[in-house]
């Protein structure tokens, strides 16, 4: 009954989204206010209906209603309640429902917050979002109905949630990621609305910017959590695998980052217009492409859902309409647009342009690495796979100039910058960076020219430059605590974002260089020495969880003879899904992780254990967090609210 209610709500939502796709656009085409005024209540109604549907599916999982196919295939009566809730989006159908919930949520948010935008523009933006909504509601209802029943022959118990997904990280990873993907739909809608209207002033960029920031913020957090989840759950101690699906989330992130920077130019200088619009289209197109790759079964990955060519065909058709249509519109409309601004070779415009070039080259690398195997196969040249070395090497070459430019960028003025005023500050920055990097390496490790040192140098360069630039700005504002608070939130956001990148670069380089890994065979009481750490296996015992069994190992860890911690590693067996899962034990510190994964039981009795010491691995996620926090600060900048209101009044 409840499930039918949810299904019904979804059908109504499809109908509402159809109306939303037609009337407001028609209204703004004809210049009639009536149909446009419909847009906002429709958007809110759409979200409410989808919430009812989502609530209904949650209830079905909560109450172990195995007459619902989705529940029967992805849950089990023995699953604890919180994993029953996350199982809601553990399957293709449920995750699509989450996807439309978020899409309608963004649509409703635009409706609620776009009060100050010109009416015609509101109609266009919500109308474009309506079209995207129609596509996804249609997909959910036609191709992946989450409310399908197993009646009249329903199973006694469910087939359980994939144990890989039974983890805290998994509770929030997909929602955040989807928030990011779907959030780019708003940037996309802004771009299309601008193309339809033919107006790309700096107001347009200022309106689009906070939405892009919000989407980028969620995507950053989502990707970071996914990486953290892989590290904890997969038991390989890795944090990024260049898996096709990871890449599918990384591409919109890279383009989104480029878009953020390009929007800044369009807002402040009124130029780069065609570029910004293209990036906004590209960011959302890559999100859609990601959805297509994951859900059509074109590529193989640990993440992908069951392959189904019909779903793929639908998504491909949708992709053609949305992306093809928007690129056609772009091609037809962009000719008329001229940029009026002038700038010199050494100016912030050019530096931000090179930022975009590097980010897009990186996107291209990921894109080719992900899709080339497919193209290769379809050309009849046989199956190939492109692995980590390809990506790692190209990213290595891209990061060096990118980080060097990033250190310079914030110091350079718009339009034109003389070289000589910058020489003095940059020689100081370079000196401080070199001293910090070399100093740390000499103290912590033996001096060696390796990737770790390069990472430290680049990271210190970016970080010192960002901090110094911020201090300079504070001093220009008069110094002291008052100036500290006067500095706009978006400037703090930029500083934090760049610091986050510096931290990330250091984390990646140090982890890559100084990680040590050992596969050992241990008996109870046996000790393994590992640099200054020694690990003693003190106990192994049987494990009994609510829906799993297995073994747990207890280890004592000593550093230079002193006990520092106690580690608890598990190897779980989930009988319903017949899956063995590793729950790695991690002792985390800012400077290093100690990581132990329990393996097979061997004769003796003894156990295979995998032990890692990973210096600076936390910095990778810390860097991501800093970037996300920077985006949050930029989002809170007063001018997005204050000025938008003022403009709104003048337009209305």
């Amino acid at each position: 009954m409840i499930a039918e209610l949810g299904h019904l709500a979804l059908c109504f939502a499809l109908a509402i989204s159809l109306v939303l796709a037609i009337f407001p656009l028609y209204g703004s085409y004809k210049g009639a206010a009536g149909p446009v005024l419909l847009a906002r209540p429709l958007a809110i109604l759409l979200f409410l209906l989808t919430s009812v549907a989502f609530g209904a599916l949650c209830y079905s999982f909560w109450s172990n209603d195995f007459t619902v196919l989705n529940v029967a295939s992805n849950s089990n009566s023995m699953l604890p309640w919180y994993y029953r809730m996350t199982a809601v989006w553990g399957s293709h159908e449920g995750s699509m429902l989450l996807w439309v919930l978020m899409l309608s949520g963004w649509t409703a948010a635009v409706a609620l917050l776009s009060n100050s935008l010109p009416l015609i523009l509101q109609g266009r933006i919500l109308g474009v979002l309506g079209i995207i909504n129609v596509g996804f509601y249609g997909f959910v209802l036609l191709m992946s109905n989450p409310f399908e029943r197993t009646l009249p022959f329903f199973p006694v118990d469910g087939r359980d949630l994939n144990p890989l997904l039974q983890d805290f990280g998994m509770i929030i990873h997909p929602p955040l990621l989807y928030m990011g993907y779907v959030g780019f739909a708003v940037s996309f809608a802004f771009a299309i609305a601008a193309l339809l209207g033919g107006r790309f002033d700096s107001n347009w960029a200022r309106w689009a910017r906070p939405w892009t920031l919000a989407a980028w913020l969620f995507l950053t957090l989502g990707i970071m959590l996914g990486s953290w989840w892989a590290y904890n759950e997969l038991g390989w101690g890795g944090w990024w695998f260049w898996d096709p699906v990871e890449n599918a989330s990384f591409m919109p992130w890279l383009v989104g980052t480029a878009l953020l920077h390009s929007l800044a130019v369009t807002e402040k200088r009124g130029t780069f217009k065609s570029w910004t619009v293209l990036l906004a289209i590209a960011a959302f197109s890559l999100s859609l492409l990601g959805a297509f790759l994951v859900r059509s079964g074109v590529l193989v990955s640990v993440h992908s859902f069951a392959a189904d060519p019909d779903r793929g065909l639908y998504l491909l058709a949708f992709l053609l309409v949305v992306v093809g249509g928007s690129l056609l519109l772009y091609a037809l409309r962009m000719n008329a647009v001229r940029s009026q601004a002038r700038y010199q070779l050494f100016s912030r415009e050019v530096l931000l342009w090179s930022n975009n070039i590097f980010l897009l080259t990186a996107t291209l690398v990921v894109f080719l690495g992900t899709l080339y195997p497919l193209v290769h196969k379809e050309l009849g040249l046989g199956s190939i796979s492109i692995g980590e070395p390809f990506f790692n090497q190209l990213f290595y070459y891209l990061t060096i100039p990118f980080a060097l430019l990033l250190g310079v960028g914030p110091w350079v003025r718009w339009k034109q910058q003389q070289l000589h005023p910058l020489l003095a500050p940059f020689s100081y920055i370079a000196m401080i960076a070199v001293v910090l990097a070399l100093g740390y390496q000499a103290l912590a490790h033996d001096f060696a020219t390796n990737l770790g040192l390069l990472g430290l140098l680049l990271g210190a360069w970016v970080a010192v430059s960002a901090v110094a630039e911020t201090l300079l700005r504070i001093r220009q504002l008069g110094g002291g605590a008052r100036a500290f608070w006067q500095l706009p939130a978006s400037h703090w956001g930029m500083t934090l974002g760049h610091l986050g990148f510096a931290v990330l670069v250091i984390g990646v380089a140090m982890t890559k260089t100084y990680s040590v890994e050992k596969d050992v065979r241990m008996k109870i009481g046996e000790k393994v020495q590992f640099n200054q750490y020694s690990f003693t296996l003190s106990e192994v015992y049987a494990l009994k969880g609510p829906n799993y069994g297995g073994q747990a190992a207890e280890l004592e860890v000593y550093e230079n003879g002193e006990k520092i911690t106690h580690l608890h590693a598990e190897k779980r067996f989930y009988p319903v899904q017949k899956t063995v899962m590793t729950e790695a034990a991690v002792d985390a510190k800012l400077s290093r992780d100690l990581y132990v994964a329990l393996g097979e039981e061997l004769d003796g009795p003894s156990w295979a254990l995998r032990i890692y010491v990973k210096p600076f691995v936390r910095w990778i996620w810390l860097g991501g967090l800093l970037m996300a926090f920077g985006a949050l600060l930029a989002l809170l900048d007063k001018r997005y609210r204050r000025k938008v209101t003022a403009e709104g009044v003048s337009h209305a």
């Binding site: 199973p155 087939r159 056609l328 899709l371 497919l374 379809e378 069994g549 297995g550 017949k578």
Partner: protein
């Protein structure tokens, strides 16, 4: 020229779409059902009630049968036993492949054949016994070869030892009629062979392009 440059993104996208389209119809992953039309893997497994007797492919030669993978630990399998028993009463040959739950074997607790025999006979007395006999796959070797992903799963095997159907999940009143038709067709002599192939093709549609 300037007019044309804005069409570049569109052209690139359309080019990509062609590959995505053709990629849809060549499945990169071989599914478990790839075993359909393949011969039954070689096996030699102890009979549950009489462990000294090893059952092999030879014991099943010339028979059309259902190989049902199950375990007493699996709730759905237990629920399925009743329905399977009514099938046996209709003369359907069902062979049990007992799935030994790994932790018992892998985690020090010795695998205990006597305890297993007691548990199984208690369960079968309770729910009904659909099986001609049961084989115990302690090392899960045949289960591995068959690409079993969970329990229950059922394989339909024809008289020449070729797997004709692979069903994931329980057999019930809903899916039995189709499987029954296929079973009957295999029992009947030669002329039915074509219809069997047709059913196979249907079952495989959406799986892989063979």
């Amino acid at each position: 020229m300037r007019k044309l440059q804005f069409f570049i993104p569109l052209a690139l996208f359309l080019g990509l779409a062609v590959f995505l389209f053709s990629g849809l119809f060549s499945n990169p992953r071989d599914h478990g059902s790839a075993l359909v039309t393949q011969p039954m893997p070689q096996f030699s497994l102890p009979n549950l009630t009489e462990p000294s007797r090893l059952m092999t492919n030879a014991d099943l030669k010339g028979k059309v049968y259902l190989l049902n993978v199950w375990g007493t630990w699996c709730a759905t399998c237990n629920a399925e036993l009743g329905f399977l028993t009514t099938l046996r009463q209709q003369g359907i040959e069902i062979i049990g492949l007992y799935y030994v739950q790994p932790p018992e074997a892998a985690f020090g607790e010795r695998f205990d054949m006597t305890a297993l025999q007691q548990e199984v006979s208690r369960k079968l007395a309770e729910q009904g016994d659909p099986y001609q006999f049961n084989m115990v796959d302690e090392k899960r070797s045949l289960i591995f070869d068959l690409g079993v992903t969970g329990a229950p799963e059922t394989f339909l095997v024809d008289a020449s030892g070729i797997i004709r159907h692979h069903l994931v999940g329980d057999i019930n009143e809903q899916n039995w009629p189709a499987l029954h038709t296929q079973y009957q067709a295999l029992l009947a002599p030669a002329p039915a062979a074509n219809s069997t192939a047709a059913t196979d093709a249907k079952n495989n549609a959406g799986g892989q392009g063979e």
